[in-house]
């Protein structure tokens, strides 16, 4: 019995994981289907665009700026060990555009947007506002979920694009101001080294991470338990799951683009 109990625990955990995966998949499919079917709520979409896109710009920009700057210093320091300091512009560009830009933006969106969506929707559930929506002939999936997912799908790639540029600018500033790089040569090297596929992969990752972040916020908010503890748990679970899924999706998408 004692030998079997770890197996039982493992089996239960796997079953719970599979059940949760199934629920999240079904929820996501329903959410996507509601994006394309009327009625539409343009005002809600606009509000979500502002909340997820416009208001996330400062935090994504600041994160990218510091990451780009730190990256330049690290590459210069590491490269100097084998006389490769000159690769700073190329590695900053490729590092920011292919990996750090989308991943950092995705994680910051998970921290800022996923938590906010989960807490808001969970509170609405706890205070019966979701039930009120239904009695007012309004489908919560259409009114609350679809606008947020659509807004994240549209705005996070833009945020990632801005983050990429700001990150490269951060690396440029450090390289030119502190490491003695020639400004024109730095920019030329950056432009020459980047390929269209790098930018496409960056923006595609942004779209995927945006959908994951918004979807997890909505799912855990809608599935929230009762009371303050339910809201807190929904918020925590949403951010944890979004962050893990973003990193897993980054690995999978990198593999896909790597094979192209």
């Amino acid at each position: 019995m004692s030998l079997l109990s770890p197996l039982g625990w493992l089996g239960r955990s796997v079953l719970l994981l599979l059940a949760a995966t199934g629920r999240i998949t079904l929820f996501s499919l329903r959410a996507f289907s509601h994006i394309f079917r009327p009625p539409y709520y343009p005002r809600e979409v606009f509000n979500a665009l502002m909340q997820i896109g416009w208001l996330s710009l400062p935090v994504v920009g600041m994160t990218a700026l510091f990451t780009g700057g730190a990256l330049a210093l690290q590459i210069y320091s590491g490269g100097s060990r084998f006389n490769a300091e000159a690769v700073v512009p190329q590695i900053v560009a490729i590092g920011m555009v292919r990996e750090l830009g989308p991943v950092m933006a995705g994680l910051m969106i998970a921290a800022r947007v996923t938590s906010s969506i989960a807490a808001e929707i969970a509170t609405m559930k706890v205070t019966e506002q979701i039930d009120a929506l239904v009695t007012l002939s309004t489908n919560p999936m259409k009114y609350l979920v679809a606008p947020r997912v659509l807004a994240a799908l549209l705005t996070v790639p833009v945020l990632v694009g801005v983050g990429d540029i700001v990150g490269i600018a951060g690396g440029y500033t450090v390289a030119v101001q502190s490491l003695g790089f020639n400004p024109a040569a730095y920019l030329q090297n950056t432009v020459d080294f980047l390929e269209p596929l790098d930018i496409v992969s960056s923006l595609a990752k942004g779209a995927a991470f945006g959908v994951i972040a918004a979807m997890m916020g909505c799912y855990f908010g809608m599935a929230s338990g009762r009371g303050a503890m339910g809201v807190g748990r929904a918020t925590k679970d949403s951010v944890e799951t979004a962050a893990v899924l973003i990193l897993a999706a980054n690995f999978a998408l990198t593999g896909v683009f790597f094979s192209l």
Binding site: N47, T127, E128, D131, V134, L136
Partner: protein, 248 residues
């Protein structure tokens, strides 16, 4: 008319409704009473489709509540939630006019606002409240706004979930009077759940006592005090001794 036939609902091992039978004639006000956790809210939410019953039938004017056009079905209902359930991100008038700003009952914004302000006036709130947010209102005012929202689209059927919970006795009296006036004025069918006996006496035409998942007693409010039913008697007099266990 609303008719519930042998409705059952369980949550895991907890059997909340065990074959509920209830009939609410058109244009009358039914108040369901019972202790906390006896399934009053579940019964109400089953009618609206917010909770799916495990078995049994729910008929509204002879038609199955779960079939047909859901939008049209819900458009016949208004509901006042226990905590108001006002949308925090919308102003008071947008809350009241929510149904009139979207969906099948959509009106021009100016007209919707006008109706909202009129409904606010009907529940005793001045027009300057219209542009405030729910968080800026007291509990009593939020209940009134919830009531205004419930009646904004002139529904045929109105549900009230614990309308006086959390209010002081005077405000409870005001809300009870408002509910009674509005239901009579609109000729609506009303279903109220409460354990506030002053609400029962003020609002009800008929009373149903829910206990242990079934209706223990139902009849006109005038017959409630002389019912002879030990469950109802214990409940309305608030006695700890009797067939209802005080600790549940």
């Amino acid at each position: 008319m609303i008719r519930m036939e042998n409705v059952t609902k369980s949550f895991g091992q907890k059997h909340v409704l065990r074959g509920l039978n209830l009939e609410i004639p058109r244009g009358t006000s039914m108040v369901i009473i019972g202790g906390s956790g006896t399934g009053k809210s579940v019964a109400l939410k089953c009618v609206l489709g917010l909770i799916q019953p495990d078995s049994g039938k729910i008929l509204v004017d002879g038609a199955d509540a779960r079939g047909g056009d859901r939008d049209a079905f819900l458009a016949r209902f208004g509901m006042l939630f226990q905590g108001g359930a006002l949308f925090d991100s919308l102003t008071v008038w947008q809350n009241v006019a929510f149904r009139l700003l979207r969906g099948s009952l959509k009106r021009p914004v100016a007209e919707a606002r006008e109706i909202a302000v009129e409904k606010l006036r009907r529940v005793g709130l001045t027009p300057d409240v219209a542009d405030l947010f729910p968080a800026e209102l007291s509990g009593g005012m939020q209940k009134r706004v919830g009531l205004a929202r419930a009646i904004a689209a002139e529904p045929e059927i109105i549900f009230f979930d614990e309308p006086t919970t959390g209010l002081d006795p005077i405000m409870s009296g005001v809300i009870n009077d408002l509910i009674r006036e509005i239901v009579v004025e609109m000729g609506a069918t009303a279903m109220t759940i409460t354990h506030d006996m002053s609400s029962v006496r003020a609002i009800a035409d008929n009373v149903a006592m829910l206990h242990d998942g079934v209706i223990q007693w139902t009849g006109p409010v005038a017959e409630m005090d002389a019912s002879g039913d030990p469950y109802l008697d214990q409940f309305i007099h608030g006695r700890a001794e009797g067939p209802i266990e005080a600790v549940r």
